[in-house]
């Protein structure tokens, strides 16, 4: 039996009838066309599918779409505003925090959650905070640099931070 799921994704409201077994990541990609959220491992380990659900980083492959009923989600598509990259996105660009880019949306969303919890993390705290995300290209060094750089930008301009948790465009 199908169930109604009404969500707010990147500030826009959506409503669909879905099968209970539909994973949230498939709902985002196939029903909403938001393909920026990637599926990496399919075993809840790699974090490529990380999004924010009511402000908390969650692996969208490990949640059913029906569980998102009434919740507010932010995906990578919700990060840039008015053609301007979010400071975390800009930092990944500037610091070369990616090579193939497949894991990047998940890293950026996990980093957004990390910086919301801890605006000035140490290198150890960044590494611990991103332990749920795997990258097979970079060796993580430039990812850590990117998060450090984003932390600096965001503490200098606090308004940039608020847009992430609000999740609106």
């Amino acid at each position: 039996m199908k169930h109604k799921v009404a969500t707010t994704v990147n500030g826009r409201q959506h409503e669909h009838e879905v099968e209970p077994r539909l994973l949230l990541v498939h709902y985002l990609r196939d029903n909403l066309g938001l393909t920026g959220t990637h599926i990496g491992c399919d075993t809840s380990q790699c974090g490529a599918c990380t999004i924010l659900v009511d402000g908390k980083a969650v692996k969208s492959c490990t949640m059913f779409a029906v569980q998102a009923e009434g919740r507010s989600l932010v995906t990578i598509e919700g990060m840039a505003k008015g053609g301007e990259l979010h400071p975390i996105q800009q930092a990944f660009w500037d610091e070369h925090g990616l090579q193939c880019g497949y894991c990047t949306p998940g890293f950026i969303m996990a980093a957004a959650y990390l910086l919301e919890q801890n605006p000035n993390p140490t290198e150890d705290e960044i590494r611990k905070g991103l332990e749920g995300n795997l990258c097979r290209c970079t060796g993580y060094v430039n990812i850590v640099k990117a998060v450090q750089s984003a932390a600096k930008t965001m503490s200098a301009t606090p308004a940039k931070k608020a847009t992430v948790t609000a999740g609106g465009n």
């Binding site: 039996m1 209970p20 077994r21 809840s44 490990t62 949640m63 611990k128 332990e131 749920g132």
Partner: protein, 271 residues
């Protein structure tokens, strides 16, 4: 990977959850954090006929100090346990263990009750519950942890029984959980918890058998005045761990001894 089809129902109270479990029969499962269940469903190692979603039962999400007890609601997430000032003050070992379950994303979803009811041999909370003589409270009764974990993924829970709370004793003396794993976010290959309380030690072992293990022989040796290194030699007494892809039985027994020594020493502030 797409899970097999199932019926889905949201419960707004524990009574309703129990009724729904009864209605859908023994192939129904409770959905809490879902971070053990959903991966198993995607691999089709689990194919429940129905999922009863208890995430809307807000009263199951609580941490309460109750005299010399600490009551942790079944739906309390790892992140909440880890950040709780009450847990840090009353049972800091639990906060430490919660901070090492999975990763941030997992800790935002996974729950106390889910780990307890799932009863994975590599689960961390069952070890603590067993060694501290915690009680598992359900909608029907209170079950001492030593009677709760029956076998691999097997507990004393009946088909329409729902874990509502885990009740730990307060213990804030020297403590340490040493979780040995190849990757930060991984399950323990072997884990050892040490907690000093009431003048003695409690030692618990994770993933060295189908259920958590209390290292009684180590506790007794320490009671008789043995040093950590000497007492820890007893950590593998009576163990018969299964080998898996990550460790042979012999290696797990070796780890049990080595990590027990480390846990006690680190709890006491020595390295």
């Amino acid at each position: 990977m797409i899970p097999a089809a199932f019926e889905y129902a949201r419960a707004s109270s524990v009574e309703e959850a129990s009724k729904l479990l009864k209605k859908f029969g023994e192939d129904a499962k409770v959905l809490a954090g879902g971070h053990s269940l959903i991966p198993l469903m995607r691999l089709r190692l689990a194919q429940p006929a129905a999922l009863i979603d208890i995430n809307g039962i807000k009263e199951l999400d609580h941490i309460k100090e109750d005299g010399q007890k600490l009551r942790v609601g079944a739906l309390t997430r790892h992140v909440t346990i880890h950040n709780s000032a009450v847990v840090k003050a009353k049972l800091p070992l639990l906060a430490e263990i919660a901070s090492e379950v999975g990763d941030n994303q997992v800790r935002n979803m996974g729950t106390m009750g889910g780990v307890i009811a799932h009863a994975d041999a590599a689960g961390d909370y069952p070890t603590l519950a067993l060694m501290l003589d915690a009680d598992i409270v359900t909608n029907q009764r209170t079950i001492p942890a030593r009677d709760f974990f029956k076998d691999l993924f097997t507990t004393a829970l009946g088909p329409d029984e729902v874990v509502t709370e885990v009740v730990f004793p307060v213990a804030n003396g020297p403590h340490k959980y040493v979780k040995f794993r190849r990757r930060l976010f991984d399950w323990a290959i072997v884990g050892v918890a040490a907690q000093k309380m009431n003048g003695g030690w409690r030692i618990g072992l994770t993933n060295v058998g189908p259920t958590p293990v209390r290292a009684n022989a180590v506790e007794e040796a320490l009671q008789k005045g043995a040093k950590a290194e000497e007492a820890a030699q007893h950590a593998s007494d009576g163990l018969d761990p299964a080998g898996d892809l990550r460790a042979s039985p012999e290696y797990k027994k070796h780890l049990a001894r080595v990590l027990t020594k480390r846990a006690i020493n680190q709890a006491e502030g020595h390295q």
